[in-house]
């Protein structure tokens, strides 16, 4: 008996540690952890439930038919409404409540040139202008309508 006493002592320590581990694990582990993979399955629902701020292009057409049609036939056809007017999911939900942003006339040059300022880094085919030389004192909108910019 004396010979295996030290073995028994170690075995008891091991068993106790394993029990403590299992108890702690059962208490600490979130319920949905491991249901799909090594993560909380509920985290997926959290990610899915986040609010949407940008409504998407197709939401604009039903109310703003004329503008959407004008834009669709222009060189800005690939630019979505929210690209210039900002996030509009709130406006879609309550059209009278949240109003879309619109670059002010004084702001217009800076805003348009953010895309159209000449730069060696831009693709060769993209239409650009040197803002310091191209009618520097005029707002872009005086000649170019934003929804159909070609004159």
């Amino acid at each position: 008996m004396k010979d295996i006493e030290h073995l028994l002592r170690v075995a008891v320590i091991f068993l106790a540690s394993i029990t403590v581990f299992l108890v702690v694990r059962a208490v600490v582990k979130p319920e949905s952890y491991g249901k799909i993979g090594r993560y909380r399955a509920e985290a997926l629902d959290d990610s899915k439930a986040l609010p949407v701020r940008y409504a998407g292009q197709k939401e604009c057409g039903p109310c703003h038919k004329a503008q959407v049609k004008e834009k669709a036939g222009s060189s800005h056809s690939g630019v979505s409404c929210e690209s210039c007017h900002g996030a509009l999911a709130a406006h879609v939900a309550a059209p009278k409540g949240a109003k879309p942003a619109k670059p002010a006339e004084a702001e217009m040059r800076r805003f348009c040139l953010r895309c159209h300022e000449a730069s060696v880094s831009k693709p060769a085919k993209f239409p650009v202008q040197d803002g310091t030389k191209h009618n520097p004192d005029m707002a872009c909108g005086m000649c170019h309508k934003p929804h159909a910019p070609k004159i």
Binding site: G37, Y39, R53, G56, G86, A87, C115, V120
Partner: protein, 253 residues
């Protein structure tokens, strides 16, 4: 113990070998499945991928702005889920990379444009790694790859240890100063699940960005990968990104 006659020993060995060979032929070794390199989107549906056409990017940073709005990313100039880098490669091989405020403030004019060999914009975001270093290092399983191939963060479970931030080879993670957890591009998972495109894709005026289902042979991203010569960033890291670039220069890191 009885001695085994030579004849019996040979018979036994031969039959054992034959049985093993027959078994191997009948069922192609199951362990080989582990090394089979079939892309996961052959089996899983949907499976999200991303495409960026560098030749179309004009560096307007509408994507950066939209991303910050959609995902409540802090407005300070060092927190980004996506940002746009400008590369300027001079004829004497000097390379300059800048992205003032992620591109949101515009880029200063290039000095001495005649000495520039080439210059272009590179939008950066989560590379959607198939084997993600960030997922591997998370000690609590708070960052994970979903069944549809997106790497997400469980913000309620993250302990804020920042291991994932230093593990990402693309630097696409940051530490959220308010929530005190790691944060990263989720490819607007909440939008994808509602059948919408990501906020950055929605506002991109030139169509330089696209998001789509890799398991659909007709999807935009599948076609983009088939019809163009595409590349991933840091392929040598073995992360197998599902974000591919068209027109990627070798100097891009």
């Amino acid at each position: 113990m009885r001695e085994l006659p030579r004849r019996d020993f040979l018979k036994l060995t031969a039959s054992a070998l034959l049985t093993a060979a027959a078994a191997a032929l009948a069922a192609p070794a199951a362990w080989a499945e582990k090394f089979y390199r079939e892309p996961p989107w052959r089996r899983k549906k949907p499976y999200w991928g991303f495409g960026v056409d560098i030749e179309k990017c004009i560096g307007c940073a509408r994507c950066v702005d939209a991303c910050k709005t959609e995902n409540d990313v802090p407005r300070e100039p060092f927190y980004f889920r996506t940002w746009v880098e400008r590369y300027i490669i001079r004829k004497d091989n000097e390379i300059k990379i800048d992205a003032p405020n992620g591109g949101l403030d515009g880029y200063p004019p290039v000095a001495d444009p005649e000495t520039v060999a080439k210059s272009f914009f590179v939008p950066k975001l989560c590379n959607l790694c198939e084997s993600s270093p960030c997922v591997q290092v998370c000690p609590v399983g708070a960052t994970f790859k979903t069944e549809d191939g997106v790497v997400l963060i469980d913000k309620k479970y993250c302990i804020g240890c920042r291991y994932c931030i230093q593990a990402c080879p693309y630097g696409t993670r940051y530490f959220h100063p308010v929530l005190q957890v790691a944060d990263k591009c989720s490819v607007c998972y909440h939008r994808l699940k509602r059948g919408m495109v990501t906020a950055c894709v929605e506002v991109c005026p030139t169509g330089a960005r696209m998001v789509g289902d890799l398991s659909d042979p007709e999807s935009n991203v599948t076609k983009f990968r088939e019809n163009n010569k595409v590349q991933t960033l840091k392929a040598n890291m073995g992360t197998e990104p599902k974000l591919v670039y068209k027109g990627l220069d070798k100097e891009v890191r």
